[in-house]
């Protein structure tokens, strides 16, 4: 059984408290870390092969390295706790059960990138996680772990906890930044990228909760250790959120080399009620769906990319034989239509239109050409938008229809 890093304290009563976090080794050695050269920390994170765990899978150390050297303005660290990808709930667990892991991760990460002001953007619906995390921040301040001259290191860091107000697009890094700035969550044009010009016009690093929680163990136990836990291109473990038709839905922390088959059958208890597996969404709803034949794939960023899908947020939704794939697509299409921010034309217009078409399919009112129209419209918009939201919608639009075309065609009345 692989070692648990992120979830090691989850089972402890009051794991959210500073007392318990410290009792299990939390904040130990932090003072020494704050004496290391920041460049060393960045180098270590690079070598660990830690990749972003919010959805994009970008190498974390490389992202940190984009902060320009010798800049005059402040640098901001922004934690993306706007968990919203359907099928994903791991960050909620971290906020509720081990908030100090995130705080310690923030201290080290902020120190590495030269930030003295960090924002934690928590989705508005996460009320209890917000309360728990805010209490932990208070504890940290009271213990001299945040604020001025942390542990006598000379490093200052303030943390502002900021609540969202209900918009999935605020999980997109520049949509989040816009929302943080007090505006609608409209993603920003790139270039410039946030590391150059982000929140409030200053260099900004946006990282997912889980990604940052990995930083203290990496720094304290070494890059090679972390890299060795995973695959050649992605180090460590990650928390897989498993839900749907499985016996034991929940969060599973496993090395990223775990296969989808193993995750479903060995860890999550397999299919309940003796049903057969039909399909799996492997990385949140934006990831292309996999059929029951395609689950012998490693659940790391590159493994899933090579399988034509993506690791995304590691939200695994398991579907058994009773599921109507056209209906599932309609539900997902409804989601994208509702969450499109509306800023750019292809996404704004196509997500609404495609939802209407998927609805007509499910209602038995589809036309012969609708399936090809959906595929064509999906493809025409892909890559043309301000952010990757539409590309996330295109994942299901295309994969559900292409891999289960018969099921869709069966619903289309013949002339």
């Amino acid at each position: 059984m692989a070692e648990l890093i992120l979830t090691r304290n989850f089972h402890l009563p009051e794991s959210r408290t500073l007392r318990v976090y410290r009792a299990t080794g939390g904040y130990e050695g932090l003072r020494n870390v704050l004496a290391m050269p920041p460049a060393t920390i960045i180098e270590t994170v690079k070598k660990s092969n830690l990749r972003g765990l919010g959805g994009a899978g970008f190498p974390t150390g490389v992202k940190w390295g984009f902060i320009p050297k010798g800049h005059a303005s402040p640098v901001y660290l922004v934690i993306n706790a706007d968990e919203g990808e359907p099928g994903t709930f791991k960050d909620r667990y971290l906020l509720e059960r081990d908030p100090h892991a995130l705080i310690e991760g923030m201290i080290i990460s902020a120190y590495a990138i030269g930030s003295h002001l960090a924002f934690v953007y928590i989705r508005g619906e996460y009320v209890h996680p917000w309360r728990v995390f805010s209490a932990a921040v208070q504890e940290a301040y009271a213990a001299g772990l945040l604020g001025k001259n942390i542990l006598g290191s000379g490093f200052d860091l303030d943390v502002v906890v900021h609540r969202g107000a209900g918009a999935y697009i605020c999980g997109e890094e520049t949509g989040l930044i816009s929302s943080l700035e007090g505006k609608k969550g409209w993603p920003k044009l790139k270039p410039p990228f946030p590391a150059i010009r982000g929140a409030f016009g200053a260099p900004t690093i946006v990282n997912n909760v889980e990604t940052i929680c990995h930083v203290p163990p990496i720094i304290k136990r070494g890059a090679a250790w972390f890299a060795g836990l995973g695959t050649a291109t992605q180090g460590g473990t990650r928390m897989y959120s498993v839900s749907g038709h499985v016996a034991r839905p929940g969060v599973y922390e496993l090395p990223v080399s775990v296969t989808l088959r193993s995750l479903i059958y060995e860890h999550a208890g397999g299919m309940p009620k003796g049903k057969r597996l039909k399909a799996v969404v492997p990385g949140g709803s934006s990831a292309a769906i996999l059929t029951a034949d395609e689950i012998d794939v490693a659940m790391d960023v590159d493994g899933l990319k090579n399988a034509g899908t993506m690791a995304g947020s590691a939200g695994v939704i398991v579907m058994d034989e009773t599921v109507s794939i056209p209906e599932a697509l309609m539900v997902v299409a409804r989601f994208y239509a509702h969450e499109s921010c509306g800023q750019c034309t292809p996404c704004r217009e196509a997500t609404g239109w495609i939802y209407k078409m998927t609805r007509r399919i499910v209602e038995g009112k589809a036309r012969k050409d609708d399936l090809d129209t959906i595929l064509d419209v999906a493809r025409r918009g892909a890559g043309t938008t301000i952010c990757a939201f539409y590309d996330g919608a295109v994942g299901p639009y295309i994969s559900y229809i292409e891999k289960f075309r018969d099921e869709f065609e069966a619903l289309i009345p013949h002339a």
């Binding site: 359907p86 107000a165 918009a167 943080l180 700035e181 007090g182 969550g185 839900s243």
Partner: protein, 163 residues
């Protein structure tokens, strides 16, 4: 919780101090707009146009730009709500595990359509996108807390607890 109609949307001196404190946390005071709107909603129960104009004044923003923010986000209510707000998730996992039945059951028990408020002002009943609690599907948010693994019995017990 909703405010009586006719109440003027103004913060108390303590709340104004809180507004200023919030504005001071950020490099640009405009960033405090969402927390201040949340404070307004918590205080007045919802965000009226009058409240939007009032908040706009606190930020030197045109009311149109505050209205943009209020209409963009789903958690800002522009009309009074019931004393309790129930938001049922209808996204993928919840849908597969029975959200349509939960919605139908609540419609019948509450006697109100999705999006509506019960005539006695007790419950506003909404259908929402993924709340990221799929491990307890089908689930709903009841005011501040998540309630999952819903069955008719569980739903009944929850409703009984809502005054």
């Amino acid at each position: 919780m909703s405010a009586p109609s006719g109440v003027r949307a103004q913060f108390t001196p303590e709340q104004l101090a809180e507004v200023r404190r919030l504005q001071g946390l950020y490099p640009d005071k405009r960033a405090a707009l969402l927390p201040v709107l949340q404070l307004a909603q918590d205080t007045f129960g919802y965000i009226s146009l009058e409240t939007e104009e009032y908040v706009a004044g606190l930020f030197d923003l045109s009311p149109a730009h505050v209205h943009e923010v209020v209409t963009f986000y789903t958690l800002f209510f522009r009309e009074p709500t019931g004393r309790h707000v129930i938001s049922v998730c209808h996204n993928l996992t919840c849908h597969l595990l029975g959200a349509p039945r939960v919605l139908a059951y609540l419609e019948a028990r509450l006697g109100v359509e999705i999006g509506g408020t019960t005539p006695d002002g007790r419950v506003t009943f909404l259908s929402v996108e993924c709340l990221c609690a799929c491990e307890m599907a089908p689930m709903m948010q009841v005011n501040d807390r998540y309630e999952g693994l819903l069955t008719p019995e569980r739903i009944d017990r929850i409703l009984e607890g809502l005054r």
